[in-house]
Amino acid sequence: MSKRIVIHEEHCIGCRLCEVHCLVQHSSSKDIIKAYGGEHSHLMPRLTVEEDGPLSFALQCRQCEEPSCVEACVSGAMHRDPLTGMIMCDEERCVGCWMCIMVCPAGAIQQNLLGTKIASKCDLCYGAELPACVAHCPNEALTFDDVAEKGAGS
């Protein structure tokens, strides 16, 4: 049993507050004005909002039980954190070869080319009590729940 971000697409109103707060959370100032001001040049949200007419949802790393990204990573950057059991990308070790992007079945990893090229993915706001996207979702379209079953698969 571990904590996962659960997506409730039927509740998503496509407001993209999750994107905004994801970016702020990963800025060094943690300040919305600064993050979107000077700091913004090398930051990007670690989730993707998909939208097609009335249907929308915010997608982050699905924390697969058998993660294809870890299997494919040639640098050892993608790994399961020994403490939390979560799939993380060690950005110091990532070389931006994009093998993970090639295999992630959810398409939840993106190229960050704004600074040193690295694979960018959700880190569940490492260290925070609640991921920022979940905390700031106004309609509970994202929740942080205990889940037992598999993620996106193998």
Binding site: S75, V95, M102, P105, G153
Partner: protein, 426 residues
């Protein structure tokens, strides 16, 4: 239980991690010819290109063996297997007893019969020692011009690294186009142009017939189609073949690679093979074949490692795939991506040649069987998932080619499976 693993790369790591995830009591030994602890072969080109240092070549933290209670036996070449006596024979005349044995010996570089191949300054490009030798050679003798033989993955990666060191490269490929195993002619043309924009001279349908030396070092090469090319350095990057030497005198069944079942078992009891040396199931071509790629090596290793300690997870099969970058432009190919004019297949393409962008999907019976993406690669893995799970994409065909392609473009049931992990019924 005593598990012995021959080889020390992705397959070995996959096996060790899967085994130790469920079992702490087994003795695990890793036998490797090389002297280094686990490093990443795909990062060698980044190392040669000066993008990363030696420390970052490590594929796992330096305490990997201790943390996983593995005994490394390095600089030891395994020479044979006594399958009846369950012993691995080593070059020093000794032998190592095993209860379970995993052959993860990888590939050996293909060296064409070229007069002068032993000349100083001619290198292969598969091992760390190759790259260390190239760096030492460049330091001692300098080098402005290089010849790279092979326009496949290895040749491209070597070339990209040499460019980054400021060395001018002539790439020589025997086939009519570069990267022909992975790409169709259009994608291949895009990559050729990118190489040329980076200053590389690309010669196809040609090869080196003789290597000439001066003062004992490589100086020029003669081409089959006429002419000679000056060079200070030459890299042979034609490809690798399965390194099956270890089993040649045994009764273990070998085709092109060592033949394995869905648990990576060979024809000999308690002997497994995985990674580049193994001929395992490929779910796109629906047959066993050797595909020397990192993700397959790791996954197959994990399946073997788990099976050694009683966890039976059959392999669903691999998919050939590659990600490369030339002159800053990324390219990804998955599955039967190089097919052209194949009966029974459908090809959807979108080409923006000026901006080095290309998308090409190959479909068969409403199922995606191949993908090529050049330039814009984000969300490529969604296509890979569709290939792997053989999802019927008949209804979402136009969405597949859309700029906005994403999970919303997919059949509802599959999307929910990816997003929430619910089962798929297809």
């Amino acid at each position: 239980m005593r598990a012995v693993i021959v080889g020390n790369s992705a397959t070995a790591v996959g096996a060790i991690e899967a085994l130790r995830a469920v079992n702490q009591s087994a003795k695990v030994l890793v036998v490797s010819e090389e002297s280094h602890l686990i490093y990443s072969r795909p990062l060698l080109s980044h190392y040669l290109g000066g993008e990363i240092d030696q420390v970052r070549l490590a594929y796992r933290p330096s305490d990997f063996y201790t943390r996983h209670e593995v005994t490394p036996i390095l600089e030891t070449r395994a020479t044979g297997i006594d399958t009846a006596g369950r012993r691995l024979l080593t070059q020093d005349g000794n032998s190592i007893a095993y209860d379970k044995l995993l052959i993860a010996t990888g590939g050996t570089p293909i060296l064409p019969p070229m007069p002068g191949i032993d000349t100083q300054g001619v290198f292969s490009f598969t091992r760390r020692s190759d790259v260390e030798s190239i760096l030492t050679y460049l330091e001692a003798h300098g080098g402005k011009e290089a010849v790279v033989v092979g326009g496949g993955m290895i040749g491209i990666k070597a070339t990209d690294a040499l460019i980054k060191r400021g060395i001018r490269v002539t790439m020589i490929e025997l086939a009519p186009r570069i990267l022909g195993v992975a790409l169709d002619s259009t994608a291949s043309r895009l990559m050729t142009r990118l190489l040329e924009e980076a200053g590389v001279r690309v010669l196809t349908g040609n090869t080196v017939t003789e290597i000439h030396s001066r003062d004992g070092r490589v100086h020029s090469v003669t081409l089959r189609e006429g002419g000679t090319i000056r060079c200070d350095l030459m890299i042979l990057g034609i490809g690798v073949r399965p390194n099956t030497e270890l089993v040649e005198d045994s009764d273990i069944r070998v085709n092109r690679g060592i033949v394995v079942d869905e648990y990576m078992r060979t024809s000999a009891p308690d002997v497994y093979a995985a990674g580049d040396v193994a001929e395992a199931y490929d779910l796109v071509v629906d047959m066993n074949r050797t595909v020397a790629i990192w993700p397959n090596a790791y996954r197959q290793g994990a399946i073997a490692g788990a099976h050694m300690v009683g966890i039976e997870t059959p392999d669903a099969g691999g998919v050939a795939m590659n990600a490369i970058e030339v002159h800053g432009v990324p390219a990804i190919s998955v599955g039967n991506s190089n097919l052209e004019d194949e009966p029974g297949h459908e090809f959807l393409t979108d080409l923006d040649e000026r901006n080095h962008r290309y998308k090409r999907l190959v479909l068969k019976d409403n199922r995606l069987v191949g993908v090529t993406l050049v330039g814009h690669i984000n969300r490529a893995g969604i296509y890979t998932g569709l290939i792997r799970h053989k999802i019927d994409v008949g209804a979402s065909r136009s969405a597949l080619m859309s700029e906005q392609f994403g999970l919303l473009s997919l059949p509802d049931r599959y999307r929910k499976h990816v997003v929430t992990g619910e089962g798929i019924e297809v």
